[in-house]
């Protein structure tokens, strides 16, 4: 059963586990934000340092100054007090009765003296005339200066004098019988009549006189204390003001320095982003002006160097273009001459006829090499342009297969197409995509070890992908990158049978990149290889992923190997478009129609579907023709 307490507990747990309130989270982020800000801003650092250092300096100075002032005030007060007490002592000494031991009438005299001394000082001090402590005689110990203005506690009882002072006064009587040096002093705090009900700090001065008499003065320091408090307050305010003023000055000064530095940083950033015309304003002839001048000189020299490189590149481009033209014209003449010779080879003797044949075939090779070299140099010169239009990539794939089909036929193998039923429309450069597919297919057939090649295409909302799978020698680890290198060969000892130039994949990679697409390779020794082309469906689109997997999964791989023997079973023959079938694709029909074979194909695709599980579109196998 769920009790109320349980509910409360649960909600508490929820609160613990649940997201904290935004305010809390924000609060927790503050320290980090401040730290980041501190680390990133020189101005903040300098200002903070100034603030802290000036605060320390100002406090030390203020403390010393205050000490000095207080000591001065106390010294003044003391001097003043000593004079008053001396005057009082003189008055007391002048009364002869006090030199006698106390009598019954002595109380009167003491009272009179206290009154007399007190009246001279009004409220600035309090006076007490007393007997030395512990004296027993005709007069009571009680004696003192006056009920109204005298040295009385507020409740009417005489104050308890500190023992240290009274004993010091006792000692003074023994050592000095005459003179003002008889004084004993004590800084203490008392609440006495002239100052009001609260205890105030003050200077208590005592001195012995006559036979057993003692005279005490209390000088309250209330006024001095007030003065000191006010000085303290002023010093504090002034100190804080100075500290903040210094910080503000530091802020301003660093700003003067930082702003040009920030401008320089901004300028450098713009410069590195390619805005070569960026320059800094030079003002005056200080260090910052030197910085600006150096920056501008750097930018100018950079611009100059870049312009130089640009010129070189332009020259290079022009050179390539000129070479192309200059080479091609005589090559055309040679080519046509060779055609004429080749056409007449039946009338020649055997050696001349064979020479004409060799001339013809090597000219073809020379031409394709020249074409590829020019294409690569066009990429190197950044002169390649994308001539994109919306086309059906699947149709291009079928159309680009001609050369590879012939090669495959010569080897007795087939190229199997697994293309989606609907058109794969994408904005691509038809010529370049054709070239990529042609290169991949030729490559696959050439390295396919006389096994079939599988071409798969698929599409999603953002991208269209084509994979070309062969079951040949495959690739060693690390070769997935190397295959795209110029003139790279897996095995240099292997003879090239189809006369490839060694530039095909390098050009294909550049073609894919020009589209903003990917061309990737996967391979394992003995298990064949996969080349995957992924292109964005619109020009300038960013690829997030590919509609087709690059590497066939483990299970998929085995299945594919089982279902792709050199002699396919009849059921598979229905679903797969063989070399002949694709070639029969009539160009007059823009879209191949879905035939009855599709139904069979779908049935077959269930057993074989694992091989292509990832590509939903790809598993929809449609017979074309």
């Amino acid at each position: 059963m769920r009790t109320a307490a349980g509910t409360v507990l649960a909600s508490y747990r929820d609160w613990l586990a649940g997201p904290r309130s935004p305010v809390l989270t924000r609060a927790r982020r503050w320290p980090r934000q401040i730290r980041n800000r501190y680390r990133r801003s020189l101005q903040l650092r300098v200002t903070t340092a100034t603030l802290v250092l000036s605060a320390v300096v100002v406090s030390v100075l203020g403390y010393l100054l205050l000490q000095h002032l207080v000591a001065d005030i106390y010294a003044n007060k003391r001097q003043n007090a000593q004079q008053i007490v001396s005057v009082g002592l003189n008055a007391a000494d002048s009364k002869a009765t006090f030199s006698q031991p106390p009598s019954a009438a002595s109380g009167e005299d003491m009272y009179a003296l206290a009154k007399q001394l007190q009246s001279a000082g009004a409220t600035t001090y309090a006076v007490e005339v007393t007997l030395l402590p512990g004296y027993r005689g005709p007069v009571d110990q009680v004696f003192s200066g006056g009920d109204a203005a005298g040295f009385y506690l507020v409740d009417g009882s005489p104050p308890k004098l500190p023992v240290r002072l009274t004993s010091a006064v006792y000692d003074e009587r023994a050592e000095h019988s005459q003179g003002p040096q008889r004084l004993a002093e004590e800084w203490t705090s008392m609440a006495v009549a002239p100052t009001g009900p609260h205890p105030v700090p003050g200077l208590l001065v005592g001195a012995p006189f006559g036979s057993v008499y003692e005279l005490y003065y209390f000088f309250p320091l209330a006024a001095e204390q007030q003065t000191i408090a006010s000085i303290q307050q002023n010093l504090l305010v002034a100190g804080i003001a100075v500290v903040f003023l210094l910080a503000a000055v530091a802020w301003l000064v660093t700003r003067w320095v930082i702003v040009p530095v920030r401008l320089a940083a901004l300028g450098a950033r713009r410069l590195s982003a390619g805005e070569l015309d960026e320059r800094m304003e030079v003002r005056g002839s200080d260090e910052l002006a030197v910085l600006s001048t150096s920056f501008n000189e750097m930018a100018a020299s950079l611009q100059e160097k870049l312009a130089e490189l640009e010129d070189l590149s332009q020259v290079q481009r022009q050179f390539v273009s000129d070479v192309s033209h200059e080479l091609r014209t005589p090559l055309t003449t040679i080519r046509i001459a060779s055609d004429v010779l080749f056409g007449a080879k039946d009338e020649m003797d055997q050696a001349a006829a064979r020479s004409a044949e060799l001339l013809q075939s090597q000219l073809e090779r020379f031409e394709s090499l020249l074409t590829d070299l020019l294409e690569i140099s066009r990429y190197d010169a950044n002169a390649a342009t994308l001539d994109a239009e919306p086309v059906d990539v699947c149709t291009i794939v079928l159309q680009s297969a001609d050369v590879a089909q012939q090669l495959a036929e010569r080897r007795g193998t087939k190229i199997e197409f697994r293309l989606p039923g609907e058109p794969c429309i994408a904005e691509v450069d038809r010529r370049r995509v054709e070239r990529i597919v042609r290169n991949l297919l030729q490559n696959a057939v050439e390295h396919g070890e006389n096994k079939d090649t599988v071409v798969t295409a698929a599409m999603d909302s953002a991208a269209v992908a084509v994979t070309v799978r062969d079951f040949g020698v495959g690739l060693h680890p690390g070769e997935e990158q190397l295959v795209f290198d110029r003139f790279w060969r897996a095995d240099p000892a292997r003879a090239r049978t189809s006369g490839g130039t060694g530039l095909g994949l390098a050009i294909a990679l550049e073609d894919a990149r020009l589209h903003g697409g990917w061309l990737e390779a996967w391979g394992e020794p003995g298990r064949g290889s996969v080349f995957r082309l992924t292109l964005p469906r619109v020009v300038g689109g960013q690829l997030q992923g590919s509609p087709l997997p690059l590497s066939p999964g483990q299970a998929g791989l085995e299945a594919a190997e089982l279902t792709a023997p050199p002699e396919p079973a009849p059921a598979e023959a229905a679903e797969s478009v063989t070399a002949d079938g694709a070639q029969a694709g009539d160009q007059a029909h823009p879209r191949p129609t879905v035939t009855e074979g599709a139904a069979v194909a779908e049935g077959a695709a269930i057993t074989e579907g694992a091989a292509l599980a990832e590509g939903a579109a790809a598993s929809e196998v449609v017979a074309r023709g």
Binding site: S324, R328, T329, T332, T333, A383, Q399, Q587, P590
Partner: protein, 225 residues
Amino acid sequence: MKGRVLVVDDDSALAEMLGIVLRGEGFEPTFVYDGDKALEVFRDSKPDLVLLDLMLPGVDGIDVCRQIRAESGVPIVMLTAKSDTVDVVLGLESGADDYIVKPFQSKVLIARVRARLRRTDDPAPETLTIGDVTIDVAGHSVTRAGEALNLTPLEFDLLVALARKPRQVFTREVLLEQVWGYRHAADTRLVNVHVQRLRAKIEKDPERPEIVVTVRGVGYKAGPG
């Protein structure tokens, strides 16, 4: 078949070689080695086809092409060493019907020349209409709202090919085969440029074509809808 071919090329070796091949195929070649004299020789020799090298001393091949096109619809096939889109499109826009990129095989050259010279000699009287454009196939004339339009033979062939099957979409490949006589997939820029040229002549507003309509991702078709 008529077979007078004017070869405009500054490279005498290539020109001679072209002459050998053309003569071997039964054509009558005439030669001019300089762009400045090209138009003059063209007027004198009245060729059935011009083979024009794009890079010439004196007047540039592009300009020669424009000059010839300004006064005649005779087929012009350009020979170019540059296959970059800019160069090709510039050449086609200046009025060339076709182009061959060097180096080429002699049989390719002959095939292209034949394709450009091959005309249905006496077509059946036939009148086609798309929108307000009327085509008299036998009379080789095109009129829009009674006003005669001056099309080159190639533009005429392109328009007739589209107009014979209105509302059917032709891919660029099919058009290349039917109009240019290409057996294999070739450069579809040819079609694009000539459709633009054709539209400039027959459409009221070439920016919003109504007669030759683009079907995105597939090709072209005649007529609206």
